[in-house]
């Protein structure tokens, strides 16, 4: 079948030109750069080694998820729990019921007067003389403290006070 055997023999006698030493050096440099950057390469002469390769995308995603979790966790920690807030919002700290709440005791109270409005003279029931009615808007802040744990609770609420001032006869 093979009437080309003589030709094939002649062809095999042809020797491809040898590779220039420069090419070897260039490949050496390229592979060395690879080895420095990514670890040494093998092309199957040695068995492949399973090596750890850092997945930067996965690492970044993981860090972002961790950061998000920490931020949310921090927000939740800072936020007062609903049960505590509702229990302490009772505006009667000095009552026995309040005292029963884990020994929180009133420690401070402030009143801020925003304004006082003179609403003029008014006759009230059972009085013969008119009285001047003054309406004051205030904000009261009451603070409780638990001496055992050091925890504190502060409640602030607006108030409105109406005062009747008798008019002195002139």
């Amino acid at each position: 079948m093979n009437d080309f055997s003589e030709l094939e023999t002649e062809l095999k006698k042809l020797r491809p030109r040898s590779v220039s030493p420069d090419l070897n050096a260039r490949i050496e440099v390229s592979l060395a750069e690879e080895a420095m950057g990514r670890g040494t390469a093998t092309a199957g002469v040695l068995p492949k080694q399973s090596r750890f390769r850092l997945n930067w995308f996965a690492l970044g995603l993981g860090l972002a998820a961790a950061a998000t979790f920490l931020i949310l966790a921090r927000v939740n920690v800072d936020r007062p729990s609903k049960s505590t807030g509702l229990a302490m919002l009772t505006p009667a700290p000095i009552t026995p019921a309040a005292k029963a709440v884990d020994s929180f005791v009133p420690s401070a109270m402030t009143q801020v007067l925003y304004d006082t409005k003179d609403e003029g003279l008014h006759f009230t029931d059972g009085q013969n003389e008119p009285m001047r009615r003054l309406r004051s808007r205030k904000r009261e802040t009451v603070q409780w403290k638990n001496p055992q744990t050091g925890a504190s609770l502060r409640v602030s609420y607006p108030t409105e006070e109406v005062t009747l001032v008798p008019i002195s006869g002139q």
């Binding site: 080309f4 030709l7 590779v19 092309a43 002469v45």
Partner: protein, 165 residues
Amino acid sequence: MEDVVTHEEDWKSCFAELGPGLVLFARQFVRSIADAEDIVQDAFVRFWRKQHSVNDKGLLYATVRSVALDLLRRDARRARREASASADMEQTTEPQFDFDDGSQRALAAAIDLLPVEQREVLVMKIWNELTFAEIASALAISQNTAASRYRYALAALKKNFVVHE
């Protein structure tokens, strides 16, 4: 670091064996040794760093071919020059072989006259000793096609070689 040295010796011995054949194969796409060596450098480094088996010669030659074609595609002007060189090969081509006598020179000239599809099969078969299965794998063709191209190449070569003799 010891591993680096060991692997360095590996690629060197591997390339010492395969290098000339790879450059000869690359030369079928470009007409200068410098370009062919550039292609082989790029392809060999790419192949080696992906840790392919050197026994997979089909893939190695496919890598060289791919790099060569990429090079030609990237530079259209260069591609035109290469095409023009293919048409007028004997005037511009650097010798691919070391010659012992005029007969070998004539045989090499006859090889240059072959179409590139036949030349690449011939080069892989004769000087790189690839099987038709490996050639088919490298060129993404069937084994039958690879074998036919080889036979056509030999037939044309015989005809041209006789003429040049």
